[in-house]
């Protein structure tokens, strides 16, 4: 749409080397004004490196960077930004403690005649700017009091407001709700019509087809494909990203879940949560998982999925409700109790709540299970090595050695390290909160395959995922939450994307909250 021919930003045969890795190998990429250009690839494909070269974080070792028709070099992010290249990142890179307005306008605050910041005008400007993005928040409050979606919008508003000619979006939708995604797409289309070039990085294929004009696929640091988005079949795109044979991808589908999920697991639930209630957060949520069963938690952001997992784990204070693991109610509500009983939670935010970046893969894996491995308080190195090696092999963790720092691994491998940490505890139940968020297609498929394997081995799995396809294909049974309450349960042939959406959308109060226990007598028993 109105894209002119001259690229505004271009990388010509760019090469970037890091110690031991050739991150970019002779890659060319060009984006034109008024074009939304998808940049896709697995983790380690070189997307982030290319973006960091465009934004002045890294300098290319070879090749040429061109901007606005001439050669360019950005020594710092500030320089790139000043020249009109704005970036919004997957993780909101703003200052949580500063007010919304100050974050939005940092560096370009309106001044009064004396040259000092005019607070009144600043707040007014910020409010007006945000209104265009569907955000109506008190701009005086600290940024962190907003939800992730709103924070992302603030970051976006900031990025665009600095007279950008190129806007780079690195997985901008990973924490947005569907409605917010629509707003974002509206903004992107507006940018395109204004002749701004957009580089759009995302793992969500639907989005690429919705907003992007062209696509560049990187694989292993090389250019794998470059062409218009329209006419490129989904499977073709996936196979380009994965570098796998098209037929193979078709056979396995987009996700890697392969188990026959129509078989309904029987037997006593390994975990049963009953009537979890916390004022304004959860209302009488009951969930049970049998050994070998994957139970999905469906619902929109804010429906109470993560909160349910946290409540089961004892990490969320409850007004009422109980959790029974393998027939025994948890007496005290604490994470330590839950872990001892055999429940493990893979948290949503692996950066903040999971990995310890400066420790090695080995240390991260055995961190929680050291007490198990110890004899008389002493842990044998050989024993640890054994456990660590076993998990690295089993989970196919790609690390140069067990002693590599976790922070150096890709997102998918970090996730696997976390998974290994909890598996090392030999849990009976695994609560997975967005296990594949922010990791690339290949690693995603591997994690999905792992979930299957673990369930085969008899683990009970509670799966939370915003990816409907993943949820539908990975779960045996799905419990749908809305506004903190169970609004439906799907099992057998009903476990489909359409089924989940219908259940979420169904507003009639008659939607059977079928897992809400009708069996009050048994509850009374458990209390005794």
């Amino acid at each position: 749409m109105g894209a002119s021919d001259e690229p505004v930003l271009e990388a010509r045969n760019v090469t970037k080397r890091f110690p031991g890795v050739l991150a970019l190998d002779d890659v060319s990429f060009a984006v034109r004004p008024g074009e939304v250009h998808a940049l896709v690839g697995e983790n380690g494909a070189g997307k982030s490196t290319l973006i960091k070269i465009f934004t002045g974080v890294h300098q290319p070792d070879g090749g040429e960077l061109r901007y606005g028709g001439g050669p360019a070099a950005f020594a710092t992010p500030m320089e790139a930004q000043r020249s009109g290249i704005s970036t919004i990142y997957q993780e909101v890179n703003l200052v949580p403690m500063m007010s919304v307005a100050r974050n939005l306008l940092l560096g370009r605050e309106p001044r009064n005649r004396l040259g000092v910041i005019d607070a009144t005008r600043m707040y007014g400007e910020a409010e007006r700017a945000l209104a265009g993005y569907g955000v109506k928040a008190d701009v005086r409050r600290p940024l962190r009091t907003l939800g992730m979606g709103a924070q992302q919008m603030v970051a976006l508003a900031r990025a665009i407001s600095i007279d950008a000619r190129v806007v780079i979006m690195d997985e901008p939708t990973s924490s947005l709700e569907p409605r917010e995604v629509e707003t974002l797409f509206g903004v992107i289309r507006r940018l395109r019509d204004d002749g701004i070039a957009v580089i759009y990085v995302s793992h969500r294929l639907d989005e690429l087809y919705q907003v992007c004009d062209r696509v560049t696929v990187l694989r292993d640091g090389r250019l794998a494909h470059n062409g218009p988005m329209a006419g490129l079949a989904r499977l073709q795109l996936i196979s380009l990203m994965l570098g796998r044979d098209l037929n193979e991808v078709r056979a396995s589908g987009a996700t890697r879940f392969s188990r026959d999920h129509d078989a309904i697991a029987t037997g006593e639930p390994v975990i049963e949560a009953r009537g979890l209630t916390r004022r304004h957060v959860l209302r009488e949520v009951s969930v049970s998982v049998r050994p070998g069963e994957v139970v999905g938690l469906g619902g929109l952001l804010g429906a109470g999925r993560s909160e349910t997992a946290k409540a089961i784990m004892g990490a969320l204070p409850l007004d009422s409700g109980e959790v029974i693991v393998a027939g025994l109610p948890l007496r005290r509500r604490s994470t330590a109790t839950a872990i001892r009983a055999g429940v493990s939670l893979l948290p949503e935010d692996r950066k903040a709540e999971g990995i310890i970046p400066n420790l090695s893969v080995r240390e991260n894996i055995v961190l929680a299970s050291l007490p198990h491995l110890a004899r008389g308080g002493v842990v044998s190195d050989a024993r640890i090595d054994e456990v660590v090696d076993a998990f690295i092999r089993k989970l196919r963790i790609k690390a140069s050695s067990p002693h590599q720092k976790v922070s150096e691994l890709s997102g998918g491998n970090q996730q696997k390290v976390l998974l290994a940490r909890w598996l090392a505890m030999r849990p009976k139940v695994l609560l997975l909160d967005e296990p594949t968020r922010g990791i690339d297609v290949g690693a995603k498929a591997e994690v999905q395959a792992l979930i299957d394997e673990l369930a085969e081995e008899g683990l009970g799995v509670l799966l939370i995922s915003s990816d409907l396809e993943e949820l539908a294909e990975g779960s045996d049974r799905i419990i749908v939450l809305r506004e903190g309450a169970v609004v439906g349960e799907l099992s057998g042939a009903d476990v489909t994307e359409e089924g989940i959406m219908a259940s979420i959308a169904d507003h009639s109060p008659s939607a059977p909250p079928s897992t809400t226990p009708a069996d009050h007598p048994s509850r009374a028993e458990a209390h005794d």
Binding site: M98, L106, V135, K136, A137, H280, V281, G302, E483
Partner: protein
């Protein structure tokens, strides 16, 4: 709190967000003005309990003796908000005094310029090392603390030589009075106002908050991280030197044994004033309240009689612990919301 509704509460329904917002608001209020509230309370209680307390003379003496600490604490406020710490200020305070007394032989201009130049340079160098090499501020300024004290002992022959302030114009700067208060009080007040403006209403101030809140995010947002950090330590050095010079003018001599452990009092005052030790939040008004609170407590304890002045440290230590615990609880409450 309609805003929380329009922007659908992310993890929680809107009703809870409204309550949480109110709690958060109260929390922030407490953090920002807690020291002021306690200060007012202590003053009121002190006035009723002790006759000597609520006198103009006593108030003046508290304000006067707090003014030097206040000047240093202003610089420290910027340092701590930026996520750093400056341990060298106690030594710089002493060095500033000695250099001022030494320089006063050549008149008031030299008496002021010499300490400012030297202490500013020390601050600048520390800032450059911290900002450019990424070394921990704690270590760099600890080195500064030791080095500067050594330097000062060297120029004063291990403290054997005490320079006296000869210049009367310079002495007047520390001793002159206006409406019953010495000049340093007014200087501290003007500096506090300037710092308030600098922190709240200039790009530099915003950058300091941004760096302390998240250095990574700040650099991605185009904040000149290195320059801002260097300026912050430069400022801290300058203010410590100035406080030392003013104090020398008051005492009419450059005393070498001053300022030992002073950096800790300064940090205590700043933190009691609600500035987060982890950076990213704080205020000049809070720091001024913190300084005055410490001064008032000292005055109370000194005059109650039975207690030695050592108890002042016990009390301020206890206070500091309370404040840090309160900050911790507040930030925890805020995280949950």
């Amino acid at each position: 709190m309609t805003d929380s509704k329009v922007f659908p509460a992310h993890k929680v329904p809107a009703v809870r967000a409204a309550g949480a917002a109110r709690r958060e608001h109260v929390g922030r209020l407490l953090q920002q003005h807690g020291a002021l509230i306690v200060l007012v309370a202590v003053v009121i209680v002190g006035s009723f309990a002790f006759d000597f307390f609520a006198t103009a003379g006593n108030a003046a003496s508290v304000v006067v003796s707090s003014s030097f600490l206040a000047v240093i604490a202003l610089g420290m406020t910027f340092v701590i908000i930026s996520g750093g710490i400056d341990l060298s200020v106690g030594s710089l305070f002493a060095l500033g005094g000695v250099l001022a007394a030494y320089g006063s032989q050549a008149g008031v201009v030299v008496a002021l310029l010499l300490p400012l130049t030297v202490c500013g340079t020390v601050g600048l160098v520390q800032g450059l090392i911290i900002a450019r090499t990424g070394m921990a501020p704690f270590i760099v300024t600890l080195a500064g603390l030791l080095g500067v004290r050594g330097l000062m002992l060297a120029i004063s022959d291990e403290g054997a030589t005490t320079y006296l302030v000869k210049d009367t114009a310079f002495a007047r700067l520390g001793q002159g009075e206006l409406f019953g208060l010495t000049y340093p009080v007014y200087i501290a007040a003007v500096l506090a106002l300037l710092c308030m403006l600098l922190l709240q209403r200039t790009g530099f101030g915003q950058n300091v908050f941004a760096i302390g809140g998240s250095e990574h995010a700040a650099s991605l947002m185009g904040v000149p991280v290195v320059r801002t950090k260097v300026l912050v330590y430069l400022m801290s050095g300058l203010l410590a030197g100035l406080a030392g010079a003013l104090n020398a003018a008051r005492l009419s001599s450059g005393v070498t044994i001053l300022g030992i452990g002073l950096e800790l009092d300064v940090i205590a005052a700043v933190v009691i004033g609600g500035t987060l030790l982890t950076g990213g939040a704080g205020s000049v008004t809070g720091t001024v309240s913190g300084v005055l609170l410490l001064g008032v407590i000292q005055s109370l304890i000194n005059q109650v009689g039975d207690l030695t002045s050592s108890f002042q440290q016990v009390v301020s230590g206890g206070f500091l612990a309370l404040v840090v615990i309160a900050q911790r609880l507040l930030s925890k409450a805020q995280r949950i919301t």
